[in-house]
Amino acid sequence: MLASHRASDPRRGSGRRGAAARLAPAALAALAALAPAARADPPGRVVSMNLCTDQLAMLIADEGQLHSVSHVALDPRASAMADEAARHTINHGRAEEVYLMQPDLVVTSTLSARHSTAMLRRLGIPVITLAPANSLKDVHDRILEMGAALGQTDRARAIAAAFDEDLARLRATAAARPSAVLYYANGYTLGDQTLAGQILLAAGFSNAASAAGYKSGTRMPLEVLAMTVPDTVITSSRYPGASRAEDIMDHPVVQTLRRTTTAATIADHDWLCGTPHVLRAIEKLVHTRRALQGDGP
């Protein structure tokens, strides 16, 4: 488990980056001499406009290479790297402010506001979009894609390899898989074909929502949840202020199904994005499963 912390701890990450930065000039010079036509210089001023690309860029970019991240990356509920994000300039994903930052490259998700990215492209700014991760294999791929975009291929390869190694160590080989349902605000559930679904599987659970036919992300009526009778219901963590959408977590049906004392909650910052931080989510879930199965953590 230590290795996973090492991979996902932002401070350790920046420490390693510091070391890499010290080594970098010599290595880069050597690379440039060996393969002068291989690639242009890595982009020197990068702006990220999406929570997930923010975190990948912060993990992989060279010191000073990443100029700005989105304001969502500052929110510790959604972002696993809020402290790190605070050291960057903040943008709000609007074309105007991003253009004025004069970036060499903009990285964002394929899901983010299309009119903003279209506008930036029209203004002649290169934009690279990364698809959201829907599986743990996608996490590996996105790390490499971000590495290629930032011109930090070697560092990205090392992070991806560490991720694969830690994942292999964590991945459960449990014989008996307890069934669980991921239950979000508004009664949303996520099936096997989603990143959260894959986190659940990797931790040794079986997804009862998928078994009931909810393969991707859709609303699962409370009645259907009650009738599937999972071993546990893993609910999303609550945001401040009140909402009817989140009231569903207090419904007697959900409370009855969460009778186990180890009922887990989904900490958004580890679950939302395809970054090495998902390993933390898997690790916590493995503890939940062990407690549920009664053989201690």
């Binding site: 009645e223 009650a226 009778v229």
Partner: protein, 327 residues
Amino acid sequence: MSRLAIGLCLLVIALFAASLLIGPAGTAPGESLSALIAGDGGPLTLVMREIRLPRAILALMIGASLGLAGAAMQGYLRNPLAEPGLIGVSGSAALGAVLSLQTGLAAAFALALPLSALLGALIGMGLVMALAGPRGGSLTLILAGIAVSALAAALTSLVLNLSPNPFAASEIVFWMMGSLADRSLTHVMLALPLMALGGVLLALVGRGLDALTLGEDAAGAMGIDLRRLRLTIVTGTACVVGAGTAVAGAIGFVGLVVPHVLRPLVGARPSRLLWASALGGAAMLLAADIAVRVILPARDLKLGVVTALVGAPLFLHLILKLRTARI
């Protein structure tokens, strides 16, 4: 009278049973009812007792109170367009409820939510009555209603948009259109005290409303205290609408459609229209709540969509009728 009463009662019972038996879990009727009554502790009992029963009870209670409030207001104002949703009482109640939820007052003590909605409804109703005046014609009443509704809707949207909760803003639709999805017995218990109080108050105004059909002077001569009648109706309506809106959002048009349809059947007597509208309102909301589950089972279609689809054409028809009557 009795034939109408029996017919309406049978309709409400049939719709209540249908409401208990229809849902996405898709279980056999006999099995469902035995799980509800016998209760074997299995998942079906959980579905019947914690999901469908509260939903059916809430539809019954809220529908009845909206019908009753509509009939009472129309009797008092002698105006067929007076309805809690249209004149902004439901919207103001929703604002009160949203404020108490977002400020955390609702979490402080159990009845804070319905009481805040009641306060909102009282303020909205007071504003409309003050703007339209006791003898206000249809036009002033509707204009005052539009003003209060628009203000309440704008403030509700503002409060929800300012909320730190990422889901709050998308719930503007719920507060404007109403829904009974995923409610529990907790919500029934929240709404019950105020709704019962308001129901009793409104049930007592029948004699006064009958007298009022002869004009205010005649009613006064018959010993009706008009100021007390007005106070009872305002308080009663605010109680039932506030309690209902606090748990299910603002549901419009029930109080407009039901009295309009039933008025000829009770000989246009306000006292008889009161109980008939209560039964009719319960039937209409139960039917609407069944419709939203049958049409889009997984999407939580809002109740107000269905009631407005039925009610808005009727509203237009009423306006046309009023216009020809004036000419």
